[in-house]
């Protein structure tokens, strides 16, 4: 095994093109587990922690470009106002030791259906910026990025550069079910974003389908039913109906963490609560 340690983004893309057998590593919170347990023996590790550009974020036209190597701890402290849904999810990741190392880019690279960053990125309509030495940069809507269990839309010569997320225009929520508050892989997770500027709703479901996914029909239903103009109280029946539609969008399985039936039921509860909290936030802001 080789240890490849480029110090610039261009070098990293060149190395990635030359060594399709190399496994990219950032915070190591997924990759090192696979190595420690002999689950994976790549031809090389491609260490991305020496590339300064990956650890930066910036804002242009109210869209945050979040470098793939920014750890969760910094998402929480630096981006809680702009990206509240992602920051809420980041707070639920692992432990302090994990949040200081783990990155949103790494979460996307692993593409686990349980990745905590994925539901809020889906709800916000984020785009993943990927790049290769041969073809330059392209952007992939996050809803098209996940192609299967732990599979994503990256080509073998591509690396994840950043994720682009619009600054929140309205309330965002993230909820997750697990056996304790820390160190938990979610049994189910749900993210909601209200976009009052265009009277639209965004959703993201985690751990309840082969990939993280949106609940598109539930989004349209809720956006059509919400009283955007006067922002009156949220009818209890509407919150419940939204929860049912979110659960209907899931395709969960039974596994060691929970049953499919429990996951579906928990999603009805999480979605109902999320819309109740978010709508209350919007009414208070008015």
């Amino acid at each position: 095994m080789d240890f490849l340690q480029p110090s610039s983004w261009d070098d990293a893309l060149a190395v990635r093109a030359e060594r399709p057998d190399a496994l990219p590593i950032a915070g190591g919170t997924d990759v090192m587990v696979e190595l420690n347990f002999d689950r994976r023996r790549p031809g090389a590790l491609l260490d991305l922690t020496r590339i300064p550009e990956l650890r930066e974020w910036s804002v242009a036209d109210e869209v945050v470009r979040l470098g793939a190597g920014v750890p969760y701890a910094r998402v929480i402290t630096e981006l809680g106002n702009r990206l509240p849904g992602l920051a809420m999810a980041a707070r639920t990741v692992g432990s302090p030791q994990i949040r200081v190392r783990g990155t949103v880019g790494g979460n996307l690279g692993s593409a686990s259906p349980a990745g905590d960053a994925h539901p809020p990125l889906l709800a916000a309509g984020a785009e993943v910026e990927v790049a290769s030495a041969a073809r330059g940069t392209r952007r992939i809507p996050v809803a098209e990025f996940f192609t299967g269990v732990k599979r994503n839309a990256l080509e073998p010569d591509e690396l994840i550069a950043a994720v682009h997320v619009r600054t929140a225009r309205g309330p965002q929520q993230f909820c997750k079910v697990g056996t304790r508050n820390a160190m938990v892989i979610s049994v189910s997770a749900f993210a909601l974003a209200l976009h009052p500027d265009r009277q639209a709703v965004g959703t993201g479901i985690g751990s309840a389908a082969p990939t993280p996914r949106r609940a598109a029909e539930a989004e349209e239903f809720l956006a059509g039913e919400l009283d955007w103009a006067t922002r009156g109280p949220l009818p209890e029946g509407l919150a419940r109906a939204f929860g049912e539609r979110v659960a209907a969008a899931a395709a969960p399985i039974d596994d060691v963490r929970g049953t499919a039936a429990y996951r579906r039921h928990s999603l009805t509860v999480l979605a109902r609560r999320a819309v109740t909290w978010a709508w209350d936030d919007l009414r208070r802001a008015a």
């Binding site: 095994m1 080789d2 240890f3 340690q5 590593i25 915070g27 190591g28 919170t29 990759v31 090192m32 587990v33 190595l35 420690n36 347990f37 023996r41 090389a44 590790l45 260490d47 922690t49 692992g94 432990s95 302090p96 030791q97 994990i98 200081v100 190392r101 508050n181 820390a182 160190m183």
Partner: protein
């Protein structure tokens, strides 16, 4: 592969390091620093917690090569000579030490908390130690130790 890194203030070099090796293995098996413990090897238990460039990390989840040229502080580096660090003293006095396997990681995590938050609330202590498992104490004595260390630190 050669790895040169600063550990507890001293530059250390190891040769023939396997590229998939963890920082934890490097510290324990090549550099003779067995303080950080090898337990879960998946970042769940926190018993291998060390500082990497001033941040508490699970050494089992850091590739040894990622530590090249960085600064590592292990539990062995907290005491000043023979004198225990106040956090270590507090763990002994409060009875926060039983089998001792989780202790080095908890000491580093508590040390980091008190450096950032000199007078932490109970929820802050629980949150800061959420990544460290202890199977003996039931945690109450550990919370006592952190409160004791915080009081002593404030009294100085």
């Amino acid at each position: 592969m050669r790895v040169t890194t600063t550990v507890n203030g001293t530059e250390r070099t190891a040769d023939d390091v396997w590229p998939g090796e963890s920082l934890l293995h490097l510290l324990r098996e090549r550099l003779g620093l067995p303080g950080a413990k090898n337990a879960c090897e998946q970042g769940e238990c926190g018993s291998c917690t060390v500082y990497l460039d001033g941040e508490p990390v699970c050494a089992c989840l850091v590739a040894a090569g990622q530590a090249i040229g960085r600064k590592v502080t292990t539990v062995e580096g907290l005491a000043a000579g023979q004198a225990l660090h106040p956090v270590q003293e507090a763990f002994v006095e409060a009875g926060a030490v039983q089998c001792g396997f989780c202790t080095p990681g908890l000491v580093v995590a508590a040390h980091d908390l008190l450096a950032r938050v000199p007078e932490p609330s109970d929820p802050e202590i629980r949150e800061a130690l959420a990544g460290n498992l202890c199977r003996c104490t039931g945690y109450e004595k550990i919370l006592d130790a952190v409160r004791l260390a915080a009081r002593r630190q404030a009294a100085r």
